[in-house]
Symmetry: C2
Subunit: 187 residues, 2 copies
């Protein structure tokens, strides 16, 4: 027998509600809010996701996958000279929109690395590809590594998130970071 129809419905409703709640309130949001928003009891929530962490994992995986797609799209469709720039801006946009993502990425890196090691490694590899191409194209300094780049963007999103900056403000900050990544012109 397949899963019962109502179970499937609730599973989806919970995921949807959790995405909204976590994006809005961050990872620290009480799990009750998710259940309430999903129109479901706490017990039901725990039937589908035996742990808050498991629920969180499901969502972060989605988010990371979405980022991976963006990275691939930019890599194949955009001029290498601007692809990294475009991706970092998209990354910042998504991270700012969903507070939970960059919280997860920004906090204890151990958890993230162990739980989503595959996806994180993938993302890291894509960014590294974008970086290498940009270096070849001459729009990025060769002496910064991918780790630095990601840290800078994540940190920027964190700061912007907690000061209620809008998307324009965030993009302004990202612009400064990107400017700092460019090769220095001999004066």
């Amino acid at each position: 027998m397949s899963v019962r129809a109502d179970a499937q419905r609730n599973h989806d409703k919970i995921l949807e509600a959790a995405e909204e709640v976590f994006a809005l309130e961050g990872v620290t949001a009480p799990i009750d809010l998710v259940a309430e928003r999903a129109g479901v009891g706490i017990g039901t929530l725990y039937r589908h996701f035996p742990t808050k962490e498991s629920l969180f994992e499901a969502i972060v995986s989605t988010r990371l996958s979405s980022l991976l797609e963006s990275a691939d799209a930019f890599t194949s469709e955009l001029d290498p000279a601007i692809a990294l720039d475009a991706f970092l801006r998209e990354f910042a946009r998504q991270a700012a929109e969903k507070q939970d993502l960059f919280e997860a990425l920004g906090q204890a890196g151990i958890d993230v690395k162990s739980k989503f090691s595959g996806l994180v490694d993938d993302l890291f590899a894509r960014v590294d590809t974008l970086r290498e191409r940009a270096v070849v194209a001459g729009t990025i300094r060769p002496d910064v590594d991918t780790n630095d780049i990601i840290n800078l963007v994540v940190g920027t999103c964190h700061a912007a998130g907690h000061t209620g900056a809008d998307d324009e403000g965030l993009q302004r900050l990202v612009s400064i970071v990107i400017a700092g990544l460019q090769p220095v012109m001999p004066r």
Copy 2:
């Protein structure tokens, strides 16, 4: 009658212990750790600081004052062309060393602004002075405001802090941010 000698001793021990604990573990450290480290009972701690927040406030005030002194020193002693640079690096160093500080600055800006409004405003003013001078000296773009600068450095510290970067790594990130703040050279 003045305060009893043991009371004064404990007050100091608690402050000292709290500084160490908060710097090491961040604001979320249980208050019991502070008491234990101070060699003091929980009751004693609460006698001196009626609230965890009050203890935290005492420490952050100290940290902010220290930063103000640095800003003043750099303003009066250094070439305006490099003073902001030097201060931002010192700021990052202090923030990274004491996780609590930038956590407070990075989190709900509302609390910080309301509780330490005086000190934060002062700090903001000093940085603005440094920035203005650097703009005049031509080492900083005129189109970024002080808020952006502080956000970038705080965010960078946050990211670096959670990835276990050493001082060298942090300074590398700050260097990139500072590079992004410099005027663009026409190519």
